[in-house]
Each structure stands twice: as C-alpha cells, then as structure tokens.
Symmetry: C2
Subunit: 447 residues, 2 copies
C-alpha cells in the first residue's frame, strides 16, 4: 500500500494553507492553493494582525517538514512577560523554566516566507481567484469574479478548506442537515497599532518580552518585530465607558493613551494615526462538526475552529491539526475516508478545549483581574507551584510548552480549580495564604 | 402619534408568517407575503409534519385578532396523555386541572385556513417566488427562479423574516460581524406516519388523548385529526442498535412495529408504506442574536429561535412573538427602531428558555426514563404536588397552561430541581418517598 498521486486543492494561502501545502507536496501530490486575495508578497499587510506567538506545538509541526530553523531566523524569542501596571514599576514574569519561550513573529513576514517555501517545493498558487462554491461529493470547486457572474469549475480528488473563520468551504457544509455550527462574538474588539523603532533601528522596549498593559476590561499588548518596531494590539470593549465607540476624535485618542498608557507617550502621534487608520476588528469563537465530507473535503485550522486570541494558540492549534493529519496519512496511506474520520475525531475535543481555555483567559483578563479573591487565588497557586513544581504545573505551561492534548490541559486545569475552590474556603485565607496549613491542604487534596 | 401606512414584506407563508400578516393588516399596512413554495392550499401536504399542539400562548395570540373561535373548529382538545407502555394496560394521565387541554391541529389544515383569513383581510400572497437576497439597510429584497439567474428587486419599508429554521433573511444577517449564531442537531430523527380512520370514519384510538408509546431512546406518538385519522410521529436515533439506519427492508419495518408497537399492528401495512415513502427528518436547536436590523428587518418565529419539538411549543412561541410585537407596536406607534429593540430584548431570554426546556425534555425522554432514581423523583414530585397543588406547580403547566414568561418557568423548574436534588439524598428515600418526612423536607426547602 503506497501513497497514490492526488490532485489536491487547498482553499486559502494563509499560514495553515501554506504549511499544509508543504506537507502534502512531500508525498508528490499535485497541489494548487487558491486565494481570493492578492499575493501577500506583493502588498503591504493589512493592519489587522495580532502578532503571532509561536510555541511548542507550532515549532513541532514546522520541524516535521524541516523548516523550523528557517523560520526561527524571522522570530524573536520572548522568555518573559513585561508587566506595565499603573502605579507600579515595570516588572517581569518568566514564562517557565529555563529555555522556555514563546516566539514573536509578524504574521505577514511569516506568511510570505511560507508561501516562498511552498512554491519552491512545487506548489501552484492561484491568487485573486475567488472560490464561490464547492460541490462536496465530487470535490469540484467554482471560481469567478463575482458570486452572480460567470464561474469556472475545477475538479479535484481532495479539497482542503483552510480559508479561515469565515470559510466558504464550511459555509457550504453548513447548509447540510445535521451539521452543528456556532459563532459567538465577544463584546471586545481589537485594533492594531505600531510602536516605531528608535532612530538607530533598536527596539524602544525590551525586545525579549511580551509587553502587557493590563487595565481591567481593556488591555494593550506589544510584541517585537525584527525591524525594531513593535506590533501592538489594543483590546477594548466596543461599547461602554472606556470603549472604541467613545474615542471619536484625535483629542479623545491622545487623552486615552496619556491617561492609561503613559509610557507609550513617545509614540503618541503614530498611535493616534494608527487608531483612526486601522480597522476595529471583532473576535469570534467558531465551532462546527463534522469537519470532513466523506473522503473528499476537510477543514483545517480556523475554518474548523476559530478561537479568541487570548491564549496565543490559534496558529499553533492549526499547525497541530496538520501534524496530526500527517501522522494519520502515514498510517492509513490512501484511505482518505479513514484519515478524515480519525482526524476529526481526534482533533475535535482538543479544538473545543483550546476554545474554552482561550475564552476563559479572556473572561479572567477582562472580568476577574479586579477581584481581590481571584488575585489571591493566583498568588496561592504560584506560591505552591514554586514549592512543588512537579505537583502543580500551570495550565499555561501545559498548553504552551508541551504537546500533550489540549483536552488534557483543560481537564487538569479544572481539577486544579476544584482544589482551589476548597482552599479559598479556608477561614482567614487572606492571612494564611502562604502558610503550612494551606500547603498541606493542597497536598491532601491533590492526593 | 398614529400608525402611518407602511409597505411591508413578510418572507414565508407558514403559520407565523400568515398570522403576522393578519396582525399587521389590522393597522392598514400594505402587506405582501412571499413564499418560495407553491400555495399550500393547492398541494397535498408534504408528509414531514409533526401535528401541532396549540396551547394557551397560541390561543391567546389568535384571540387577540379574533380568530380563535374560527380555528377551534378545526382543532381537537386533548385533555390527557394516553400511555402505551409495554407490559402494562393502556393508562391515562390528565394534563392538568379541569378544562386544561392542548389542542391537536393538522399543520396543513391550519396553515390553509390562516392563509384564507389573511387573504380575506387584504394581504397579497406571492407563492413560488424565491427570495435569494435581502439588502438590510434599504429593506430591498431580490427574487428569481435560481440563485445565479436573473433577479427582480422589491423595495419595502419593513421586512419580516418568517421563513423558518433555515431562514434566508437570517442567513443574510448571519454574515455580518458580531452576529451570534448556533445550530445544534440532535442524534434523533423523526418520520411522519398515519393511522387511518375506521371504515365508518371514527378514530381507532381515543380521540381526546395525546397517545404516547415511550420506548426508552425511541418513541411513537399519535395525535388525532378531524377526519378520523391520526398523524403519528416516530422519533428514533439515526444510527445505533434500534435506529432509522437499521430498518432497511419492509420486513425490518414490520418486525420493528410488531415488536415494539403491537397495538398499532392493525395499521401495519400503511405504517410500513409510510415508513419508506416519507422522509426521515432532522431536528435542530437554532439560536441567534440580534433578531433585528435597525428599524428595517426583523426575524419572527423559527427563523429567530428554532427548537426541538419535545415541549410542543414551537408554534406557540412563534405566535407569542407576534403577540408581544403587537403590544409594542401599540405602545410605540411608528417608532420601529424602538419596537424592534424592545421586541428582541424581551423575547430573546424567553426563546432561550423554551429552547432549553425543550432540549431537556428530549434528554429526559431519551436518556433518563430508564433510570429508576429519575422515575422515583418524578413520582415524589407528583405525590407532593397532589398534596400541595398551590405550592408545587409542574413546569409543564407553567409552560403550557399559562402566559407567564418561559424564562420564569425555567427558573422555577431549576429551583424545583435543586430542591429535589436535596430530597433524593435522604437515606432510604426509596421506602420513605411518600412519607411525612419527605413532605416536610420539601416544605422546609420551599420556604
């Protein structure tokens, strides 16, 4: 049993689409990638990106096809958070053990590099060709200038929908009976902003940190680029007291930055300009099932499971889809029906888990950071983890620095949370928090 | 401030669309109802109906426009359940107090009558005219033979999407940012079957009962029609040991009915024929938000909130939407922006509540009826309610025989459930279930 040569279409030339193309091309398949947008290598990137944090799962998927070292050249390791808290001096939190880091990469720079690599391996890219419809049973796709205009049709053996949260391929699957689907938007939007490099090309803030300005229900973050700039993201409610809706003029914007983010004042002109030039984008959790149609069509990445970005795992989860899919191809050769069935069954619970973890991180950041009991709980967990590192691995580490299933990390986190609920009921926990009593109670509950 | 005359389009000539037309016509508006299907008055009904159970909320909405007595002529009151349990003689359960009944109506018969009534009041119906697209800000709609073909356009002041669970109008709203949406199918399907009348036109089973054959994870129900027949529904898993998938031949079907439904054997030929002639349909819970667009477009009924049929409230909930909408029109006159805002804000929590209650009824029926502790709990509740009818109103009665908000019924049910969770923990509850101890415990927990 071997891998017979297939004619494969991939819809979407984003990160997941281009990595999947590189993987599938290794088997000698004919690969065509369609994208409705122009070639990202020829255009300025759109200004609606959140910089990416590549972590363990992403690197593992790149390593498998031998391109991790190539990509590390365009990534900057961040081994700590830099916390810009009002009324406190800047302080740092290491992410984990020595050598544990997440890597900052510009989405545009990475995407361009991945398309280059895919093209060099023989993948054909068709940019500015809009897919409007897919006939699922025959794996035929239809493209054209407009939805109502003339269409061209292409017949393939397999079609992969890597066309993101608003996937056309999924849209077609969604209109079938017994297709479960949900899209849930959060009330917080985001906007990309830039902190420019110093005149000498160096970074204005520490380069090896993930910079966070937490402000309750809004937040500003900054991640470094190779050129000395930082790609920043302002997360803020769409409506309400401090909100996108309420910043209407340049004066409003300047006052907003001055009040809440005084140490980025040096870039106030640029930030204000970005604020009105760049769009305010919405964030959605999208779930669906099934992810595949017979042995013909499969969704990979955001098209199957779009998540809010608060765990930095969107791309990593998509790359892990590809890693798992590839293992199943190796094991099941030409049995695409089996491959697709096992793929969706193994990935769905993990996609749901990282969606839940990401949503919880959003809720924690936006709703709980002002709650003193929540902060105390986090302090107790940290204290205990320092005393017993082998007994209390933070969920963040399980998600970010391991390749164990997301679903296990979620279950483990729920177990920790149940224990902490008990611990927080100890009388006078506020004063006893770092005592032997609390330590022993956690040990007892763990065993 | 008065009601200025509007040009209004209603998409969908089903029960909700035709009742809404009757309501709006009373204000003198120009009303056109579009439906992609042929006029139901000229065609045999499709064989995918579950007979309707009109209850309090439905009658109230009909009464408001003076058509309840007219509709009662085509309805049969059911004051009890007739339980066909294997190994037990047939027994009856009254629905509630004296005069409390649900009313069986054939969907086709009702829909034809409603369209007649709407037409008589001056509503224009355009059948077999397919709406493919709606421009939300301008309330313009586009119709044509095919999606890709030539389209005609119509401009209105207001558009109402009453086009059901797979609404085209909602489909357009769904592609906007920040529109929350979910569709969740259950693993159980249904099929319509018929029990024919006796030769003399009388009913083969008691006419004033809702007949139920509960069989664990599948079930058969029958509701009477005026012509002496019963419209029956078989609910059964799509896949698994006893499932639609596993009944492949006429012999399979005959064996299935003989084994599980011996007292419908007299109709075995007809049931078997129906089984293979009629489609197996899926059931979905569909939620979305917002339901309206500015002062231009609103979703009403299943298009806004499709629910599984296990509480018999789908049509009733849709009619209640219209009743509430009408009250808001009376209060707010021409302020359609305000009307739509208040309409969705007041109805959304109630739609979510009846969706939850309906889904729970499905879970109870399909998963819990074999659990002796669950059955004991229901027996205790019934026993207590008989002793203290004013202290323990069954949720079913609150939903079916009152017009208090669904959301209140759900909250009340949750409170009852929490009490029963405590009660079921009483040691030896199996023997004590009808004792003073249990009665006093419930009284204590209630106060």
């Amino acid at each position: 049993m071997s891998h017979s040569k297939k004619k494969i279409a991939i819809i979407g030339s984003g990160l997941v689409g281009s990595l999947l193309a590189i993987y599938l091309r290794k088997y000698g398949h004919d690969i065509t990638v369609f994208d409705r947008r122009p070639d990202i290598r020829n255009v300025k990137f759109s200004g609606r990106s959140i910089n990416l944090a590549m972590s363990n799962r992403g690197w593992k998927a790149l390593h498998e096809v031998g391109i991790d070292q190539e990509i590390k050249k365009i990534a900057i390791p961040l081994n700590k958070r830099a916390m810009h808290v009002i009324g406190k001096p800047l302080y740092f939190q290491n992410y984990g053990k020595e050598n544990e880091a997440i890597w900052s990469i510009s989405r545009g720079v990475l995407n361009r590099r991945m398309i280059d690599l895919a093209e060099a391996s023989g993948v054909i890219f068709k940019f500015e060709e809009k897919v409007w419809d897919v006939d699922l049973p025959s794996a035929e796709l239809f493209t054209g200038e407009t939805e109502k205009g003339e269409w061209k049709s292409y017949k393939y053996d397999l079609i992969f929908g890597c066309d993101g949260a608003f996937s056309r391929v999924r849209h077609k699957m969604q209109r079938r009976s017994r297709f479960d689907y949900s899209q849930d938007f959060i009330d917080v939007g985001y906007k990309e902003l830039t902190i420019l490099p110093n005149a000498d090309g160096t970074h204005k803030l520490d380069k090896n940190s993930f910079h966070i300005w937490p402000r309750g229900n809004f937040m500003f973050i900054a991640m470094p680029n190779l050129d000395g700039s930082f790609t920043c993201t302002l997360f803020m409610p769409f409506e309400g007291e401090v909100s996108f809706e309420n910043i209407k003029t340049k004066e409003d914007a300047k006052e907003f930055f001055t009040t809440y983010f005084p140490n980025v004042m040096h870039d106030i002109e640029n930030l204000t300009q970005d604020f009105f030039n760049n769009p305010t984008s919405a964030m959605v959790t999208m779930k669906c099932y099934p992810w595949t149609y017979w042995d013909k069509v499969a969704l990979v990445g955001d098209s199957a499971h779009a998540i809010v970005p608060f765990y930095g795992q969107g791309m990593n989860a998509g790359f892990e889809d590809i890693f798992v899919l590839n293992k199943l191809i190796q094991e099941n050769k030409d049995n695409w029906g089996t491959i697709f069935k096992k793929y969706q069954e193994s990935r769905k619970p993990n996609a749901d888990a990282i969606a839940e973890l990401s949503y919880r991180n959003f809720m924690e950041m936006s709703h709980k950071t002002a709650d003193p009991m929540f902060l105390l709980q986090k302090k107790i967990e940290k204290h205990f983890a320092a005393l017993h590192p082998e007994k209390w691995i933070p969920v963040y580490s399980r998600v970010t620095f391991s390749d164990k299933p997301y679903a296990d990390a979620l279950a483990y986190g729920d177990k920790q949370e149940a224990i902490m609920q008990q611990v927080m009921k100890i009388p006078n926990i506020e004063t006893l928090w770092n005592s032997k009593i609390v330590e022993d109670k956690i040990l007892e509950l763990l065993s």
